[in-house]
């Protein structure tokens, strides 16, 4: 995916914002591909050989647990601009045996955001900024050191208007599906109190 912004940035969804005296940061979610241990178990057809390679070496390996950060849609178009592209990407990943999409969080200082970040808003972070945020989340860099680094990297965060609309549309679709599931099986639903 070298042809678009997704090749260089990570999509982040706003979860919560803190404005405490000692902590002024926004929590954001990124999506990952996770695999279950064993990748389907020995002898299974789906147990495939993978390769780690660059121009100088190639190492074959059997995948046994991994995590990877999702950068963009499966069609290689770079950005998640429709709910369908999110859905298709997640579907295609989860169609692989033992793979599933999960969510992880990180923090970015509020001063990086041009306007107050709203829950559900989507931003794109450059790799260096994303990497520093991962280090901070894993307590590998202290609070003040992280803020200093973010000041240097402040140009690496951009609001993604089209993706915000796409993720909100995707969310609305999932809620609609949940409501339909609920109405399709009324015998399973909790009863109401009579008061």
């Amino acid at each position: 995916m070298e042809d678009g912004r997704a090749g260089r940035t990570v999509p982040l969804v706003v979860d919560d914002r803190k404005e405490l005296p000692e902590f002024r940061m926004t929590r954001l979610t990124y999506f990952t591909i996770e695999s279950e241990p064993g990748l389907g178990g020995a002898g299974r057809e789906e147990e495939k050989l993978w390769n780690l390679s660059n121009e100088r070496f190639q190492v074959p390996f059997l995948l046994n647990s991994m995590s990877g950060v999702i950068l963009g849609p499966v069609d290689g178009s770079g950005l998640f601009l429709t709910a369908a592209s999110i859905e298709e990407t997640f579907d295609r990943i989860e169609a692989q045996p033992s793979f599933y999409v999960d969510a992880n969080d990180l923090w970015l200082p509020n001063f990086l955001f041009e306007k107050m970040p709203e829950r559900g808003g989507v931003y794109r972070a450059g790799y260096p900024l994303f990497r520093q945020a991962l280090y901070f989340r894993a307590d590998m860099v202290d609070h003040d050191g992280f803020l200093d680094m973010c000041l240097e990297l402040s140009a690496q965060l951009a609001y993604s208007e089209g993706e915000t609309a796409a993720f909100q549309s995707w969310e609305a679709g999932q809620i609609e599906e949940a409501i339909k599931n609920y109405h399709d099986r009324p015998e399973m639903a909790l009863k109401y109190r009579e008061e």
Binding site: D16, F90, Y100, Y182, L190, R193
Partner: protein
């Protein structure tokens, strides 16, 4: 003899609460509230895996382990990792409060919509009758029907009362002062364990005038548990800790006492923890 156990799993940050109910026939029933597992730190998953192994539960069996899993509200530090936990252990029911924005938790809702590891899922509010967990009665104190806080997701937290015999345990999510101003008067008089709301933040326990909220209503010197956030936010706040010290209420914290288990047989309450 029936028993209720509530374990605040030390997840370092956020909440994850295992609820266990032993019925008179010697059968354990399981529920889970929240998790905060990440790729790097799967605290709840590992705890649960070890715990169920200790209980000699066959995890390879297809049936769900949990009778319910509850997402208290839609914040990452309460919903992260639930998908992986449900994938592994399965649940008959998955519950959550209504929210205007699922945001980062939409992937979890998507999973519930299509996975066979979730028997049924729906939103909760205080008009719903929740089935007992073994012999433990469950009632929803919050949220009210169709009442959604559009500005503060913490105030969409489900507040649960678990009752066995003459003892109630109350789980509070991250509910803040707006919630307590409406339901503090409804807290069970026999509350003997109370999960301190919002990790011990000031706004989880005091109102904007500095008056205590829920704690002013409890009379039986309850055991308190806090899923602490000492890093980052300094939760629990000193003002909150001082309040409990002044009342001489027994206080247990995941950052000091590791996993905390509060137990009752319907009469007495005991606390078990790993270290101080």
């Amino acid at each position: 003899m029936s028993e209720l156990r509530v374990t605040l799993i030390d997840v370092g940050w956020g909440d994850s609460i295992l609820i266990e109910s032993l019925d008179e026939n010697g059968k354990w029933h399981y529920g889970l509230v929240d998790s905060n597992d990440t790729t790097y730190l799967r605290s709840s998953f590992i705890f649960l895996k070890k715990h169920f192994k200790k209980r000699k539960i066959d995890l390879s069996a297809q049936g769900p382990i949990f009778e319910f899993v509850l997402l208290s509200h839609g914040h990452d530090d309460h919903g992260q990792g639930l998908k992986g936990i449900i994938k592994e252990f399965g649940t008959e029911k998955f519950w959550y409060p209504k929210s205007t924005s699922w945001s980062s938790q939409t992937n979890l809702l998507r999973y519930a919509n299509r996975s066979t590891r979730v028997g049924f899922h729906q939103s909760l509010d205080k008009t719903k009758i929740v089935p007992a967990l073994g012999e433990v009665d469950i009632s929803i104190l919050w949220p009210e029907y169709n009442r959604i806080d559009r500005h503060n997701e913490n105030n969409n937290s489900v507040v649960l009362a678990l009752e066995l015999g003459g003892v109630s345990f109350v789980l509070t999510g991250d509910a803040e002062e707006e919630v307590w101003s409406r339901i503090a008067s409804q807290l069970p008089a026999n509350t003997r364990f109370f999960k301190v709301p919002h990790h011990g933040s000031v706004n989880g326990t005091f109102d904007s005038q500095g008056n205590e909220t829920w704690s002013a209503r409890l009379t039986q010197s309850p055991a308190l548990g806090i899923s602490s956030h000492p890093m980052r936010f300094s939760h629990p706040d000193k003002q909150v800790i001082d309040l409990f010290r002044n009342k001489a209420w027994p206080l247990y914290r995941t950052d000091e006492n590791y996993h905390l288990t509060f137990m009752t047989d319907g009469t007495d309450v005991k606390v078990k923890y790993s270290h101080v």
